[in-house]
Subunit: 252 residues, 2 copies
């Protein structure tokens, strides 16, 4: 594919197209590969997203900012962005990687996106790279709840119950199935104050507890009174509006 | 202290001095503290140092770049920089922190430096922050060996022996002293091919091994033939010129 198409979707035209070419070159393809660029791009991405969040969420504390950023720059998030940019069409892979489907691998896509960002930074300066990050992340930010993004289900359930001054949930392993190397755990999650009891399974106790917490949270959101704390009111109300109430009732 | 003195040592004059003031305010002092700025400054520092190393060491691979950066931005390195800038004189701490000597604490100094860097970034843009980082780090880079910085003594000794195609060292615990909660370990480090045997002590087996490796490396550098690999020749020769040879002989 001609690189001009990629420049169009990046919204950036390179003074030195060789930089973009190198950013798209996996180490399996040749000596002039993108790994040094990836090192640089990783930190360009981190600061650009940090600045975006710092300005966008003027009251969010540093712990929440860190959590939200970690979620926005994790491998799967970057691979999604790489796919939106159709990076896989422009990737230069060695034969082995080509045959094994390397152009679909999230790690390669994410790394390549970081390298491309470094190329923009080196070619056009920090502001050009920052503008690219802002354009790519603005639509993502629009759909994000910064108070919950990146928190696991057990944490969300615990915070939900604490905000309503209710006792914490109880997790019990009720059964295990299968041989040692492929065990299945069945865990119940109880919230006595809301009369909630759900059962969930998983390949580890932790995984089963997380699944249980997820189900219990749906039920709890449907069943619970208004929150006590003020801070999270808006986010929680929005969540309640979109609740699958019928499912939640069944689960009780 | 008037902030103008700090602006002079930063080489940057603020358009909005309130930003610098906030960067210097610890959370123990008041609500308008520096923790959000610290979040932002951490990533500004990371990218500025990454770019500096990327340009300064044109042939260093991404693994080495990461290791060198990690060492340059670790807490103790930042606390050193903060001290050179006399940041403790400008710190605004709560009473408790003041009494317990918070202005000397490395974590507070390092965090404050990051916050100050974010303040420069917000006030003057990325290039102003990058110039500050370059000015502060250029003298540090001049004294750094990128092939060894941040590697522990056991790794350095192993690499040294491998570069000379010699067998790896042997570590043996030869004695332990003291009660369980304050045990001392004595470890010998042997390099039979160079006829080296040193003994070192530490509060853990790992610590004692590291001390032993450090001593053994000094002896090995004095005793060993020229390296086989080409890449590290220059760095190693420099190290040999500054060796305390008499000490090394004694240790054998």
């Amino acid at each position: 594919m001609p690189l001009a198409a990629l420049e169009t979707s990046l919204g950036y035209k390179f003074v030195k197209p060789a930089l973009l070419e190198q950013a798209l070159t996996h180490r399996s393809h040749g000596a002039r590969h993108n790994e040094r660029l990836e090192f640089l791009g990783d930190s360009v991405l981190n600061v650009a997203v940090a600045a975006l969040l710092f300005n966008h969420y003027g009251t969010l504390d540093e712990g929440d900012l860190s959590r939200v950023r970690a979620n926005l720059v994790k491998q799967s998030s970057l691979a999604d962005i790489a796919q939106k940019l159709d990076l896989s069409k422009f990737l230069r892979l060695g034969e082995g990687e080509l045959k094994s489907g390397g152009f679909r691998r999230p790690s390669i896509l994410a790394d390549t996106f970081e390298a491309v960002l470094a190329a923009v930074y080196l070619d056009g300066g920090f502001v050009a790279a920052q503008q690219l990050v802002e354009r790519l992340y603005k639509p993502i930010l629009a759909s994000v709840d910064p108070l919950t993004l990146g928190k696991d289900a057990k944490t969300l359930l615990q915070e939900f119950l604490q905000s309503r001054k209710l006792a914490l949930p109880i997790y019990n392993v009720v059964a295990t199935h299968g041989a040692a190397h492929s065990q299945q755990f069945e865990v119940e999650c109880l919230i006595p104050s809301l009369d909630i009891k759900v059962v969930a399974a998983g390949s580890s106790r932790r995984a089963a507890e997380q699944s249980g917490a997820k189900l219990a949270l749906v039920s709890a959101e449907a069943a619970s009174p208004t929150p006590v704390k003020k801070r999270s009111t808006r986010a929680r109300k929005t969540a309640q509006l979109t609740l699958p109430v019928a499912v939640a009732q069944e689960l009780k």
